[in-house]
Symmetry: C2
Subunit: 374 residues, 2 copies
Amino acid sequence: MTTRPPAEIGMKLEEVDTPALVVELDAFERNLRRLPERIAGRKVRLRPHAKTHKCPVIALQQIALGAVGVCCQKVSEAEAMVHGGVPDVLISNEIVGAPKLRRLAALARAARIATCVDDISQVAALDTAARAFDVTLSVLVEVNMGGDRCGVEPGEPALRLAETIGRASHLKFGGLQAYHGSAQHLRTPAERRAAINQAIERAGRTRALLEANGIACPVVTGAGTGTFMLEAASDVYDELQCGSYVFMDADYGRNLGEDGAPNHDFEHSLFVWATVMSRPTDDRAILDAGLKALSVDSGMPLLHGFEEAEYTRASDEHGKVLLKRPTNRLRIGDKIKLVPGHCDPTVNLYDWYVGVRNGRVEALWPITARGALV
Amino acid sequence: MTTRPPAEIGMKLEEVDTPALVVELDAFERNLRRLPERIAGRKVRLRPHAKTHKCPVIALQQIALGAVGVCCQKVSEAEAMVHGGVPDVLISNEIVGAPKLRRLAALARAARIATCVDDISQVAALDTAARAFDVTLSVLVEVNMGGDRCGVEPGEPALRLAETIGRASHLKFGGLQAYHGSAQHLRTPAERRAAINQAIERAGRTRALLEANGIACPVVTGAGTGTFMLEAASDVYDELQCGSYVFMDADYGRNLGEDGAPNHDFEHSLFVWATVMSRPTDDRAILDAGLKALSVDSGMPLLHGFEEAEYTRASDEHGKVLLKRPTNRLRIGDKIKLVPGHCDPTVNLYDWYVGVRNGRVEALWPITARGALV
């Protein structure tokens, strides 16, 4: 397996071979600080989503800046985080099947672990696993915020599930998972506000019903990089699950701010470093980074700082670039930074981050949850 | 890094945790045999593309059935193949930059290595690297077959490049790389025939020009799973580079045969094994396999043997399935095989194949070129 680091500390960026996953550390660190600054003084806490970076080195930096822990989506991802020193993980997802539940319960002997359910059958399965390892798992009820993916409907269905959790011997009710994923990439502030107002109403109504039935709701958790200020300003949400803010990607860059311009709250700090491998015509350059070097599910990557060129098509190992006017740039062997369309699945293609500051490699961080699917 | 095998030999498939990359060995082996059977008696040889499977265990099976070696796209992929026992690799791609060229030349001390150029500047760079390791590299000229990606134009530009290779002290002219990638997924036989007839004309004309100038052309190589019978029937092509035939994917399954029906030359043998993790409504099931478990660049995966259900949307860790009518299948915890939309980038997400025969795990093959980007 490709575990050899892709660079050496002290190398110039220009010397790093391609494709490589590069983090510009100054921009990354500004992003890391900016989110806590934006929510300072509010009651919400930050629990960043580690599904974005898959790297405990980054998780610990987030915790050092005040995060209460991280979110994960998979048990194997949570294992990588706990093994890397993260003391508190919420799996913001449903975990199904006895083997995974055993691993989850065993992990709760080493760290504070919470997870989610959206079906009553899962409560007994979780309780059995927790009992086998003599741990108490915190279990949140996932509520459908309008994205129509997982989650029970707000109100009564969530109440019944919370009551069932409360009756299990080795579980405790942990609160409401109230993430509205499909709101994150709505382009205008008005669209995002409408979607999150609906989420706030659904989560708030459900919490009120629980409390009216004598069930305290320790946490309402949700929000992402596209909407977090809306959840933070509500009186309903307690934790924010933003992940992409550390890196930003081309797709989040298309969200518009209140002024109608693209939102620049956060900076692009994650890049796929690529080489021009062919220059067959004046208007065409071929890069060595295609579908196996970046994910195109949310659109093609952008050529960073080079707007006269457009990455128009990805094949397995090639990226086709259209040059809109003649240029001396992008000769064979030239290297360039690409801003991935979608950071999360792009990160999942790499084993290492190459951390760069002022053009020199300063850090090599293993992406220990790369491929952590199970 | 996730190097732990995802299953145990002898397990039932139902016991294999998800997501996992499953190969149905009977179908896979029929595919492996069928392509050599289809081209038996013709002059073309098979050099399958290892970018599909990224696994020397599979490459050696292909060679045992008559393949002359494999193709790769990257130096690191070729290293994985040679380290796994493959004696003959054509890198059907341009390799740029001194570090990669050094590795390529060093690899030629351990195996027969060929690569491609489409620019005169690369000839000297290759010669320098080959001289440093005292090897002779075989270098093919890539010719644009109409896909407008890499490659020089047919005729004179290819001749000039072949002449330059011939003059280099540590290179030998290896022939023409004449792959028409964009023809592979044209849906009708008529479209594919028109595209490949153009490729045959371009490659044949270029070979004739070389020969008229006293340059023998050892090999004309190209073709993929979508068109290989056309190249095989020509008198121009010597080697076929098919890769996907071993697995088939949903996108290749949409190619039509001469009878207007989907082409069933090869069988789906590669699957993403997934679990239903949520069943929020009667018409919606959520699977635990999303963008990090399969590539959607060529469309959504298919639910194998279950046409009443449609995988409609992939998010990072979730797949949303629409159920067209009520069913007792796809309850929480049920497992199902997905046919990936595109096999190559899907394979690149996994470290292991789980080989299954008659419902039992029989093989665990490491995907040693997974992530081999550089």
